[in-house]
């Protein structure tokens, strides 16, 4: 058996294979559900119901998808330029810390101004956090995979210190959490009475903007050129180092918006368990989306639905919600295989 490259894969091939990947994921998940003692149809059905079955469930899924859209976009932007940003988790917390500092009374401004300033400041913090590894990469050739990954741990410990020290809520009964944001610093709900905040709308706008940058601007062209062939890009007069640094700023800023929207929108205060690994799951989201900004929205909704649905399924049927993690991993592997098979044909000799 060997792989033979396909020069120009047909549209049918490019659409069928991802669909097959999703089918394979569902099949494998059913098998696992059976092993765990559940009826696969009931388990999958309950996941669907849990994710989309009621107004409450649907809003919960959208809320869960919001930070994943931001981190997924951050990863997609960086990966397209072959800047391997594994540090979206740290950049998310950088944004969250800025919000917790500015939003708890340090700045007294009307809501629109305060929210804008907080969002911009959060983006700057996240951008700065990725700028350092990007500079180390362009100046000294330090591998950004290592630096960004390690930054996650360092920054989480730093947040832990802040929550035990300077940012600790004096009214928090000793819990390591920040003070609650002032009402002006909270992202309002999109519709009164429904538990969905403006962070979700912001995420959709961010995806549209990234898509426009990608397709319509010189920066997008430069980022893709640098990612595909940095040598040729440099030769053609594209300022490669500058493009990598701009990419880093954009990517770090997007990841930080996840932290902004979680604290200002959903939680109202900063805690150490703000993110259950949104920065890492963002990598899965971006890969599932084939690094396409609009695909990121779809992929984030898919991933969020599986998590939210699995939680509810677990409560109703008793099959462990770890099934969600396995489904996600399976989906990713199946998608990677589907991408491979779009580009190559298997030949048996």
């Amino acid at each position: 058996m060997r792989l033979e490259p396909i020069a120009n894969p047909s549209l049918a091939r490019r659409l069928t294979l991802p669909a097959l990947a999703i089918a394979a994921t569902i099949l494998i998940a059913s098998l696992l559900a059976m092993i765990a003692g559940g009826n696969p149809m009931a388990v999958l059905g309950q996941i669907l119901v849990g994710a989309f079955g009621s107004k409450f469930a649907l809003l919960e899924t959208l809320n869960r998808a919001t930070p994943l859209i931001f981190t997924g976009l951050a990863i997609a932007v960086a990966f397209r330029a072959k800047l391997w940003n594994i540090g979206a988790e740290a950049q998310l917390y950088a944004g969250a810390v800025v919000v917790a500092v500015l939003g708890t009374g340090a700045l007294q401004l009307p809501a629109p101004a305060l929210l804008t300033i907080m969002a911009l400041a959060a983006m700057m913090a996240g951008a700065f956090l990725l700028l350092v590894p990007a500079l180390l990469k362009t100046r000294l050739g330090v591998d950004e995979v290592v630096t960004t990954l390690l930054f996650n741990f360092i920054f989480l410990l730093f947040v832990s210190y802040l929550l035990e020290g300077p940012l600790k809520d004096p009214m928090g009964m000793g819990w390591p959490k920040s003070a609650r944001l002032t009402p002006e610093a909270r992202l309002p709900r999109i519709v009164d009475g429904l538990r969905l905040h403006w962070g979700f709308a912001l995420a959709l706008i961010a995806a549209a903007i990234v898509w426009i940058i990608d397709a319509k601007t010189t920066l997008g062209f430069e980022m893709r050129a640098v990612g595909q062939n940095a040598e040729a890009a440099r030769f053609a007069g594209i300022p490669v180092t500058k493009v990598i640094l701009k990419t880093a700023l954009l990517s770090g800023g997007l990841a930080a918006l996840a932290g902004f929207s979680e604290v200002a929108g959903l939680k109202g205060s900063l805690t150490l368990d703000l993110s259950p690994g949104f920065g890492y799951t963002g990598i899965v989201v971006a890969m599932l989306a084939l690094l396409h900004p609009l695909g990121v929205v779809v992929a984030a909704l898919f991933v969020a639905a599986i998590f939210v649905g699995a939680d509810s399924m677990s409560r109703a049927i008793g099959v462990p919600s770890y099934l969600a993690d396995i489904m996600l991993a399976t989906a990713l592997l199946c998608m990677v295989l589907a991408i491979l098979l779009t580009k190559f044909r298997v030949r048996r000799d």
């Binding site: 120009n8 601007t217 595909q228 440099r234």
Partner: protein, 513 residues
């Protein structure tokens, strides 16, 4: 037995046909190879030479036809069987692991994978014996990464010999070699023939085919169109057979040189790794003139081309463009100064393989011509690509197809179009016809000559002395980073240039020493 064997061909290809989709790469190809014989397989790019050899070596499966080695049918699509039958292939692009040593690369795959340890002593002894016998000088303990291209090729040949190959297939082996290395390779091949090996030599360089082969097979559009004994033919006939018509080199009218557009005076650049930088170079590229740079590869051509491209800045000396001293220097400055680059490596530095033709045509000019305040004008870009495809006769399925699908010649035409459409003042053509077929070569040369007549200053860097002498109005020779004085067209014989290329003749000119 030996009498029977020498009468029987060592290799027989019968009726080989291979199709890729609607394209027929090989059609009913049949030939024999005798013991001790060298067959040259001649043909333009895309004629089906490499496909045919990949079928023989088992990397592709033929749709029809059979391969027989020493009287035994080869199972199709099985490189291991081809290796075991005594077929060794030296690919155009080497297949060596750079972080391993020479002997490790050679035994890789030849020894059982799960042996507790490699038997280094015996392997090295065998390699030393082989390199002695075949005059393939190489240190078995050297790391591949530290070797020159010529040395790496020797390792590839040793790899085949180490596995007791009796038939060697060499795919464009001289494309990457200096003239001296080519001579050494030919000496090795003659030794191999004397020792009873047989060789299939793939090339499109006619003088090499004439020098080394006994028999020439000409492939055109996948079909075997002619077979000649080398003694009964000549280069003119072969090139006519290859392209199906007599080709003509461009007739160059005498140049009318104008002002110097790019001047180097006493200029030096840092050396990079083992590649020398420029040493106190003096050069003037004049408008309306083609300046040829002759020299053996690796003597500072890269330094000069990097300097002009904007990738390297001078260490000392004067660098002027159109009479103005260059202060800040980058690839973007170079493009802004009207310098057009035809890069040496089309795939690595000239194009972006997965970008479509539109994106590749605007790679150098997107910022100035195809965007406004950061917004791309894709409609204009696409129209531009379409007009280039038309004007420069790029064969492709349209501006939206990815450039990796183009043949080398068409890719080069697109690059030519990309830079020439901007009416450049200075053209840096670095090995502009390497790997192209004769039709594309003449096209490229014609375009360069036309650009010269339109008033551009052209610098032609090439290792092919014929190309330099045919096209250049003035010639410099580069050797170890030093530039010879300027020689006018027709005043130098190849032998005299050879003296300079070897580094002699610089006495008295070299102020540095």
């Amino acid at each position: 037995m030996s009498g029977v064997e020498s009468a029987q061909p060592v290799l027989r290809l019968q009726n080989i046909t291979k199709r890729f989709g609607s394209v027929t790469a090989n059609e009913a190809v049949t030939f024999d190879l005798a013991k001790g014989e060298v067959i040259a397989l001649l043909g333009e790019n895309g004629a089906g030479k490499t496909t045919l050899m990949n079928i023989l070596f088992g990397q592709y499966t033929a749709d029809e036809g059979t391969v027989t080695v020493f009287g035994n049918l080869l199972p199709p699509g099985n490189p291991r069987a081809a290796l075991d039958a005594g077929v060794g292939m030296v690919h155009q692009h080497f297949t060596l692991a750079e972080n391993l040593t020479v002997w490790e690369n050679i035994v890789l795959g030849a020894q059982p994978l799960h042996a507790p340890r490699l038997r280094a002593g015996a392997a090295k002894a065998k390699i030393r014996a082989l390199s002695e016998e075949f005059q393939l000088k190489v240190d078995p303990d050297a790391k591949i990464g530290a070797l020159t291209v010529g040395e790496r090729q020797r390792v590839e040949i040793l790899k085949a010999l180490y596995r007791d190959a009796r038939i060697l297939i060499l795919d464009e082996p001289t494309a990457v070699l200096t003239p001296q290395e080519t001579d050494a390779l030919f000496a090795t091949l003659r030794t191999a023939i004397n020792l009873g090996l047989s060789i299939v030599f793939i090339s499109h360089k006619l003088h090499e085919v004439m020098a080394i082969s006994n028999r020439v097979l000409v492939l055109r559009h996948g079909k075997l169109v002619a077979e000649r004994a080398t003694l009964d033919t000549d280069r003119a006939e072969l090139s006519a057979l290859m392209v199906g018509a007599e080709t003509s080199a461009p007739d160059l009218a005498p140049a009318t040189p104008g002002a110097a557009l790019l001047t180097l005076s006493d200029l030096s650049t840092p050396s990079i790794g083992t590649a020398p930088g420029l040493r106190h170079a003096n050069l003037a590229l004049r408008a309306g003139q083609i300046t040829g740079l002759a020299g053996v590869s690796g003597n500072g051509q890269a330094a000069l081309s990097d300097l002009i491209s904007g990738l390297v800045t001078p260490q000392s000396g004067q660098f002027e463009i159109a009479g103005n001293t260059v202060a800040t220097w980058s690839p973007r400055n170079a493009i802004g100064q009207g310098i057009a680059r035809i890069p040496e490596d089309r795939h690595k530095t000239g194009t972006i393989a997965d970008f479509d033709l539109t994106e590749n045509t605007i790679l150098e000019t997107y910022a100035t011509q195809f965007s406004k305040r950061g917004w791309m004008n894709w409609r204009k870009a696409k129209a531009h690509a379409e007009s280039l495809i038309e004007t420069y006769d790029v064969r492709c399925s349209g501006p939206d197809s990815r450039i990796r699908l183009l043949s080398g010649g068409n890719m080069q035409k697109l690059i030519l179009g990309r830079v020439l459409e901007n009416a450049p003042r200075i053209i840096l053509a670095n090995q502009p016809v390497r790997g192209l077929d004769i039709g594309a070569v003449n096209y490229v040369h014609g375009r360069l000559a036309a650009a010269r007549d339109a008033g551009a200053a052209v610098l032609l860097i090439s290792e092919d002395l014929d190309e330099i002498m045919r096209l250049s109005d003035v010639i410099h020779v580069i050797s170890d980073g030093r530039l010879s004085p300027e020689f006018a067209r027709g005043t130098m014989q190849p032998e005299q240039l050879g003296v300079w290329m070897a580094g002699d003749g610089f006495e008295g000119c070299d102020h540095a020493a």
